[in-house]
């Protein structure tokens, strides 16, 4: 009963958010539309973080690495190949996937806090490379003057912030839909099963590292595509867009959103990024201080939203599992009785 209510409320909220997002460009000014487009791109990175952290059970602080790879591949390579958005998206997603595939041997054998450490190191190293490889990335000055894209062959160039925002929205909606479909397949089921009880899944002959590698590469491709969207939304990129604070903010957003929920991750990440942008607008000097305090407060307020990480779940089981088991057959026994009487 309660689940039913929650599901309906969630559906209503999702519909409202979606409707709001569609009408948003006509309701706000150009600057806000550009900020919204960037927030959507970051929300998509948040989805990839949720895919790894919540669904696959590999808490990550390094999704900015494929995100940055995608953005720079799109800005440096994609804009040379074609001005069609779909092609640039493919290039960016490919770059993100390749970077993720290269780091698979580092990340996949590790678990728990070690994953956090290794992914953070990878993310920071990528930012360092971006800052120093001046001839290609423009160093810490970043890349400006990126030529505008057309979404598809034959369509006009995205000339204003509204058009760029709508393009971002369509791509994000499509990719989130694809992730939701992917999670309904056998692959999604195996990922969740591996998160909840890896030993049992391994014992029954499943190749858990293979699933995790697949999830890591898929998450890399999604983050890479988000990088292409950032290039479209901002038309300027620099290593500062991919710093370690961005990873931490996204992880917090994903935790607020419920860790394993893709929609929750999108909303949570967008919320956290919006709060950050707003704080930096109203409190130019002390924004990090307030943001840090909010971080601590959020962690205290939401301690239970984060139990679905590999390893932590096991501890939670014993209190809940034993009472439910004797109940289950009993309920099944009772069920036919009213039918017999009727």
């Amino acid at each position: 009963m309660r689940d039913e209510v929650i599901r309906r409320v969630r559906g209503a909220v999702a519909a409202l958010v979606l409707a709001g997002l569609v009408v948003a460009p006509w309701a706000v000014d150009d600057y806000t539309a550009a900020i919204l487009a960037r927030t959507l791109a970051l929300g998509l990175v948040g989805v990839s973080v949720a895919l790894l952290t919540g669904v696959a059970g590999m808490p990550t602080l390094g999704q900015t690495a494929p995100y940055a790879a995608g953005a720079y591949a799109c800005a440096v390579l994609g804009s040379q190949i074609s001005d069609v958005g779909v092609v640039q998206l493919a290039v960016a997603a490919g770059a993100g996937a390749v970077l993720a595939a290269l780091t698979v041997p580092l990340v996949v054998p590790a678990r728990g806090v070690i994953v956090l450490m290794i992914t953070l190191a990878i993310g920071e190293l990528v930012v360092t490379v971006l800052g120093r490889w001046r001839s290609v990335t423009g160093g810490t000055d970043g890349l400006a003057g990126i030529s505008p894209v057309r979404p598809f062959w034959g369509l006009p160039v995205l000339a204003n912030d509204q058009a760029r925002y709508l393009y971002t929205l369509v791509v994000v909606a499509t990719l989130v839909g694809a992730v939701l479909l992917l999670l309904r397949t056998r692959f999604g089921l195996l990922l969740r099963a591996g998160r909840d009880d890896e030993t049992r899944l391994r014992a029954s002959g499943h190749r858990v590292p293979l699933h995790l590698s697949g999830a890591h590469i898929a998450a890399g491709a999604i983050a890479g595509a988000a990088g292409s969207l950032l290039v479209v939304a901002q038309q300027y990129i620099s290593p500062a867009d991919f710093g370690f604070d961005t990873s931490a903010l996204l992880l917090l957003g994903v935790v607020i959103g419920g860790t394993a929920s893709v929609g929750g991750a999108l909303v949570g990440a967008a919320l956290v990024i919006a709060v950050r942008d707003w704080l930096f607008g109203v409190l130019p000097g002390h924004a990090p201080l307030v943001l840090g305090a909010l971080f601590v407060a959020t962690v205290y307020l939401l301690p239970t939203g984060v139990n679905r990480v590999r390893g932590a779940r096991v501890r939670l089981r014993p209190p809940t599992a034993p009472p439910s088991r004797p109940d289950a057959p009993a309920a099944r026994d009772h069920a036919p009785v009213p039918e017999l009487h009727a």
Partner: protein, 298 residues
């Protein structure tokens, strides 16, 4: 005047970067060893570790005036302040101690954000100048090259700290507790040692090490807005490369990183951006899968 045996002409131009690499590596080791403790004993990814180093760095910049007394004062104040910050962090972590490392890492990140903001508010947004003691301000001649005297002395001091750390972990009761907590934290708790006290002690020790590194290393990696991030990244890479918990491995990795950042850049300037990545890949190729399982403070 200190004279080190002169090398052949071919290695001569690289002697100074190599020496710099040792100083840099030992500095990173002292900073990273605190992170190893946090991670190995308390199982906490302390994202505020770089901030603890920055506390030491800013203390050095504020207190050093060129005399020996000011160095001693700065060292004492920096170590105490960073250790106190570590204890504060442990206190903040207590309510979420039973949660998972994700919440704990996020909490430490919040503390790092707020702490970094407070440091900038307190000491100003510009990178402050650090004044080393006047006696060490000059340079000495090493194998025919001039080299900063402070760095040479720093190498000796950092080596002493590293040796002291090794002895403390291997030979003292506190070190034994730390190693026991890494192996089996629950058993240590059963024996009557409060896990909260171990966590506070470990974070205080980590803070003290980071603070000492911050004060002594201020002339090498100076305090500034990016310091916390730089030190955290270098420490993380060193801890990962060093095999996640092994002190000897951490030392080797730190020296390797130091040489890569100095000698590597001098030898292969065009490949400089990728050298850290290449080091990680190389270690990976050698150690293959040994990473995730091997966790011991030895």
């Amino acid at each position: 005047m200190i004279a080190v045996a002169a090398g052949t002409n071919r290695i001569d131009p690289y002697l100074i970067p190599a020496l710099d690499g040792v100083a840099y590596g030992l500095l990173v080791f002292v900073a990273a060893s605190g992170l190893v403790f946090c991670f190995g004993v308390a199982n906490i990814l302390n994202l505020a570790h770089g901030t603890l180093y920055a506390i030491g760095g800013y203390t050095a910049a504020a207190l050093l005036d060129g005399g020996w007394a000011s160095l001693a004062l700065a060292l004492a104040v920096g170590v105490l302040a960073a250790a106190a910050a570590g204890v504060l962090l442990a206190g903040l972590l207590t309510p979420v101690a039973t949660g998972n490392h994700l919440t704990q890492a996020l909490l430490t990140f919040g503390v790092a954000l707020a702490g970094g903001s407070l440091l900038v508010a307190g000491f100003g947004p510009d990178d402050p100048q650090v004044q080393v003691p006047a006696a060490l301000d000059g340079s000495v001649v090493v194998a025919g090259h001039r080299y900063a005297a402070y760095r040479l002395v720093f190498i000796v001091v950092a080596a002493v700290i590293a040796a002291g750390l090794y002895l403390a972990v291997r030979r003292t009761r506190a070190g034994m507790l730390v190693r026991a907590a890494v192996d089996d934290a629950e058993m240590v708790a059963c024996m009557g040692v409060s896990p909260a006290r171990i966590r506070a002690g470990v974070l205080a020790a980590a803070g003290a090490l980071a603070g000492a590194a911050g004060v002594l290393g201020a002339p090498i990696i100076g305090p500034g807005a990016d310091t916390a991030d730089t030190v955290l990244l270098l420490s993380l890479v060193v801890v990962v490369l060093g095999g996640l918990g092994s002190m000897a491995g951490t030392l080797l990795a730190a020296l390797a990183i130091g040489e890569i950042q100095t000698l590597g850049v001098a030898l292969l300037p065009s490949a400089a951006p990728f050298l850290l990545f290449a080091a990680m890949a190389a270690v990976l190729a050698v150690r293959a899968r040994g990473f995730a399982t091997n966790r011991r403070v030895t």
